[in-house]
Amino acid sequence: MAVSINVNGKVHDVEVEPETPLLWVLRDTIGLTGTKYGCGIAQCGACTVHVDGQPTKSCNVNAASVVGKKVITIEGLSPDSSHPVQKAWLELTVPQCGYCQSGQIMSAVALLRRSPNPSDREIDAAMADNICRCGTYQQIREGIHAAAKLGNA
């Protein structure tokens, strides 16, 4: 069955079962591999994308449920890594292995959109679902504060 999905501003008609998780549609069918698989059960946040601006675990929503909505993945965040969060991440060399970072960045971007100058407490709440096995949490926290400054500059 063909499902029509709008990803990063482009409409893709994909032949998948409607219950296929968005994660695998993005990665395997559309070929956007920046969104990662980490657990498949909405526990790690590696697969976080934005659906109509909301941070969403793409392993946990199916293709059918995003029809008519706008999906943004890490690849669609900026054409040249110029988003303030990406800039801050580069400046502070936040990623280690990097695998969790697409999800971290998407969660951080959504947080900053809701709250342009988040407190540590808000950061904790917004980022609690994103696991980083390399333990970059401390740098992510600094990165979010730095991005907040960049965003306001």
Partner: protein, 722 residues
């Protein structure tokens, strides 16, 4: 299947141009002073002239350094590049780095000496030949210029990519071709520490740019034309065998292409025996995985199905009170002294199995054709993976290409995994390139886990309250019992009479290295007991450690720094505590000071972890501190929340809902401080801050609550106090 657009402008293409033409695209990094490109530049003359196996230089003087080691987040590429660039003496902005070619390595006399990555060895043990590679290239450039200018090589100065002699001047780029033809009569020596211009500075890691925009390629991301997907299940109990399966039940599902049975085979290469497994192949991973989950499978689980941690624990605790099967008198004989009695201190400790769970579930892409075998795998050693693929397919190593890609964490698991075998076997059988992904569940079930450990220590104190005699009894499991010794048999505390014993508890659970193997567990046991001895003898734990390591310069340096910066005190109000611990591992001495708060109901807040490292030299303080933050979080994960639940011969908690890890809100502030000895000694950094962290926390909890934590995960204990 949709392919990613590959255009020359945004991608460097590595065209293997063989039957069907495998193509792989890698994004160019977006912006970084020194950047990484990936692919196989040695096949691409446009990349520059090869001076030696380690580097090429192009006309513009851009140096591309080949990193033979795996980049898994530890900054390996940056370490190799800075080591080479230090000796070569080129502006850092002109440096690029690529992952080196394993095929070249195995077919051309192992020019990189070793392509393995692990044990914090990269800087610690490989620095001599990496520095050498840079120095050698520099001298050959100088020799080429000397010849051209008719002067002696000693009169040529090579600095920041420029060669000069008197009024003569030229760039490395100009002399690259000539240098490639130079043979040196004698290899130069590496320069002295005082002359470093790049090493010892905060160089930002090179692999970051591709990791903020989703373009870094990990094995799970590799896509090649005609590729299909496989989901696999090995026997959930190690050693079990596939009895039967019913492919007919799922055959009609969309996209299903076939089923492949994988037979148990003993491998020539260590730690990579192939387990009995079954794979479903489909045109997408989701279809393969869903079908595999629905396919009726029966296993002959074998004798391992009775295994449980509870049983092992029971046996270990019985053995603790018996004389060890293996014993070693390290100093004197403590037994008669202990038999006399006096002020005796006893402590027993245990830690369970733990899994690596790298954030990227292990994955591999393999393409087996008549001409060649290609593999992109989860691994910490592309060369070993190449040989494994050759072994599995019966091909000559020269026909096998094992490609370097980023690793989404590995932490030791990449040294011991049969996944690449599975991938080549499936591709061989179905005749198509295939991507195999282990689900998180499969990753944990098949983990070569960190082994559990038990230890019982007994000491008798002298009239100064210091240990006069001590017996250590460690209990390891049978697969890799040596992990039970590390850091204990050779502990730094010079107890005058010290004997070390070991027992073994049988288990068939596969074991492998896991970030700071051995030390990660033993640091907890020995450093908790150190505090118990100090407290029983009326000593301040920090002063006790100072006293017990008198004359040991690296330890004294760390302890002095801890004292200076931590504000360590045992006199805090109830509910608050500080704890310290020091562990020597991987060539470094690392101290930790934990500050905790335990509320009345027993809620633990770890406020801060201070880490003081002494690795002799540090080549990149910033990158080293990043490893400190990471390995601290790593060990805290296991010590606080972890514990694989082994029951019925298999782990029961196989995903992040039940196998818990440290998350953002619980992460304490970590501060990294250095106390370097700087006397021509190179220690590791990738895993050394982990081991002292849990005992520092346990010691702090003791001061906060009066409760001594002797097993992990610590949060299973009721820490409440009235």
């Amino acid at each position: 299947m949709n392919q990613i657009d590959i255009s020359r402008r945004t991608f460097i293409r590595s065209s293997l141009a063989v039957g069907g033409g495998l193509m792989l695209g890698f994004h160019m990094p977006v912006s970084a002073e020194a950047a990484i490109v990936m692919g196989e530049p040695w096949k691409n003359p446009a990349e520059g002239v090869e001076i030696n196996a380690w580097l090429t230089i192009d006309n513009a003087g851009v140096v591309t350094i080949r990193c033979p080691h795996t980049e898994m987040g530890q900054g390996g590429m940056t370490s190799v590049a800075t080591l080479v660039a230090e000796e070569l003496d080129v502006p850092w902005a002109n440096v690029r780095c690529v992952l080196a070619d394993a095929n070249r390595f195995v077919t051309r006399g192992q020019e990189y000496k070793d392509m393995s990555t692990g044990g914090s060895n990269l800087v610690r043990n490989r620095h001599p030949h990496i520095l050498q590679a840079g120095a050698s290239a520099r001298e050959r450039l100088k020799e080429a210029a000397a010849k051209a200018w008719g002067v002696d090589r000693s009169k040529v100065v090579a600095k920041q990519g420029v060669l000069t002699s008197g009024d003569k001047k030229g760039t490395y780029g100009e002399f690259a071709t000539a240098a490639a033809a130079v043979t040196l009569s004698e290899e130069p020596k590496a320069k002295a520490y005082k002359d470093w211009w790049l090493l010892g500075k905060d160089t930002p890691r090179m692999d970051v740019a591709v990791k903020v925009n989703g373009s870094a390629i990990y094995p799970i991301d590799v896509r090649v034309p005609g590729m299909v997907y496989a989901a696999v299940k090995s026997s959930p109990v190690p050693g079990g065998k596939l009895k039967s399966f019913n492919f007919d039940a799922i055959k009609g599902r969309p996209g299903i292409l076939g089923v492949v049975e994988l037979k148990q085979t003993k491998a020539k290469l260590q730690n990579a025996d192939m387990r009995s497994a079954i794979a479903v192949v489909a045109d997408s991973f989701y279809r393969a995985k869903t079908a595999l989950d629905l396919m009726p499978i029966e296993w002959d689980l074998g004798p391992g199905a009775d295994n449980s941690f509870e049983k092992m624990d029971k046996l270990a605790r019985e053995l603790m009170d018996k004389d060890g099967q293996h014993a070693e008198e390290v100093r004197g004989d403590p037994r008669p002294i202990l038999a006399k009695g006096g002020k005796v201190v006893v402590g027993d400790y245990a830690r369970p199995y733990e899994c690596h769970v790298p954030m990227s579930p292990p994955a591999a892409v393999a393409s087996v054709t008549a001409e060649r075998v290609d593999i992109w795998s989860f691994t910490q050693n592309v060369a070993a993976t190449l040989l494994m693929a050759a072994d599995q397919t019966g091909r000559q190593p020269k026909d096998v290409y094992s490609h370097g890609v980023y690793q989404g964490g590995a932490f030791g698991l990449g040294n011991a995994i049969d996944l690449p075998r599975q991938a080549v076997e499936i591709s061989k059988q179905i005749g198509k390139p295939v991507k195999v992904i282990w689900t998180r569940e499969e990753n944990i079930l098949q983990a070569r886990a960190r082994p559990p450990i038990w230890a019982k220590f007994q000491a008798v104190l002298d009239d100064k309250g210091l240990p006069a005699a001590m017996i250590s009894r460690a209990i390891g499991e049978s697969e890799v019992p040596d992990y039970a010794d590390r850091g204990i048999a050779n502990m730094a505390y010079k107890v005058p009479h010290f004997r070390y014993e070991r027992h073994i508890v049988p288990s068939n659970m596969p074991i492998g290295p896991n970030r700071a193997p051995g030390n990660n567990n033993n640091g907890f046991t020995i450093e908790s007991f150190a505090d118990e001895m100090a407290i029983a003898g009326g000593w301040d734990p920090l002063e006790w450690r100072m006293k017990m390591t008198e004359g040991n310069e690296p330890w004294q340096r760390v302890l002095a720094k801890l004292k200076e910066v931590s504000g360590f005190t045992t006199k805090l109000p109830k509910g608050k505590g500080m704890g310290i611990a020091v562990v020597e591992s991987h060539g470094s001495v690392v101290g930790a000071c934990a500050t905790v708060e335990v509320s009345r109901r027993g809620a633990l807040t770890i406020e801060k972890i201070l880490i003081v490292s002494n690795s002799g030299y540090v080549i990149n303080p910033r990158a080293a501190s990043e490893q400190v933050y990471g390995s601290t979080a790593w060990e805290l994960s296991h010590a606080m929340y972890g514990g694989l639940n082994l029951q019925g011969g298999r782990y029961q908690n196989v995903n992040f809902d039940t196998y818990k890890l440290m998350r953002f809100p619980d992460m304490p502030t970590v501060e990294s401080v250095f106390a370097m000895s700087e006397n021509n000694w190179w220690g590791g950094f990738g895993e050394t801050a982990g081991p002292p962290t849990p005992p520092a926390v346990a010691n702090a909890i003791f001061f906060a609550t009066g409760k001594r934590i002797r097993t992990t995960p610590m949060l299973k204990h009721d820490l409440s106090w009235a």
